[in-house]
Symmetry: C2
Amino acid sequence: MDTQWLDKDELGAWVGLVAVVELLPGVLDAQLRRDSGLTHFEYYVLAMLSEAPERTLRMTELAQQTNATLPRLSHVVRRLEERGVVERSPCPDDRRATNARLTGKGLAAIEAAAPGHVDNVRRHVIDALTRDQVSQLHDIAAALLERLDPNGLLTAVYERP
Amino acid sequence: MDTQWLDKDELGAWVGLVAVVELLPGVLDAQLRRDSGLTHFEYYVLAMLSEAPERTLRMTELAQQTNATLPRLSHVVRRLEERGVVERSPCPDDRRATNARLTGKGLAAIEAAAPGHVDNVRRHVIDALTRDQVSQLHDIAAALLERLDPNGLLTAVYERP
DNA sequence: CTGAATTAGTTGAAGGAACAACTAAACGCC
DNA sequence: GGCGTTTAGTTGTTCCTTCAACTAATTCAG
């Protein structure tokens, strides 16, 4: 079967998307590291915990919500624990499992980091788009995620009515 | 000044975009590594060289087009050179500079990798969208890149008429 | 000209991510 | 109810990225 190459419009959209995907992490990381001493991934871990009931999640669930492998998360959480923003404890229900819980210090850390982060997002993304484009982007992302993340693991937290 | 938080639509768009940015690199890397033994970044390096006149670019220019730091590119190109897909030579015009050139083997490698990659892009991105959405995404990406990449370094190659 | 500052690139060391191997608990089923 | 399988998580190794230090060539100022 012959390859179906991308036409001009498709190629433009694709190249643009790739460039955004390439550049955005650096922009997010740089601001968070500079102002809060957190990587974007660490910020996301803390954010997921802060939204969870009891500020607590099992490692596996947290890994799914942050798109991390379990080894990666394990290392990151260990480092976060050393810094006192997260605590780990064996899960009473299932003794194989570990619960990660955001500490008071961790809550303070993410609450301190959030305004600057949101500001950064606004400056680099939201404010660059018209309201219509924001709405279009919402739909486009949803369509893409249907394939990239069929179970909606990464976005589940924000999809409450 | 108080933080201006994101409203519902903005938050949806933002969370979706972050999820896409988080997931897409893994999808691209996985296919390319599996089928061609290249990371997406390596693929992009070879692609930029293949589009350049004489299949040759100076390290600095290549770094800009791929959004790499110079040290990163230097390491990657060294490894690619060890694999015989790229050659380095001192630039005659400016003896500080180094030219990287895609070898015949490198050209063969990227030509072999391209169909599977394009296929993957189509499956995961283009085919998930309507034609209108592809066009909207094109515009949205362009608007974002105006801030993320004001000089258009990453997309310059594909913007010839 | 000549010396200071800038630019191009490499190299080495340190930190983080992916992968593989491992431990331990729970499930499943006959 | 014991044995194989699956699930949860950690640990260690390897590879890649980032950062800092360095060399060498070029530019620019006086």
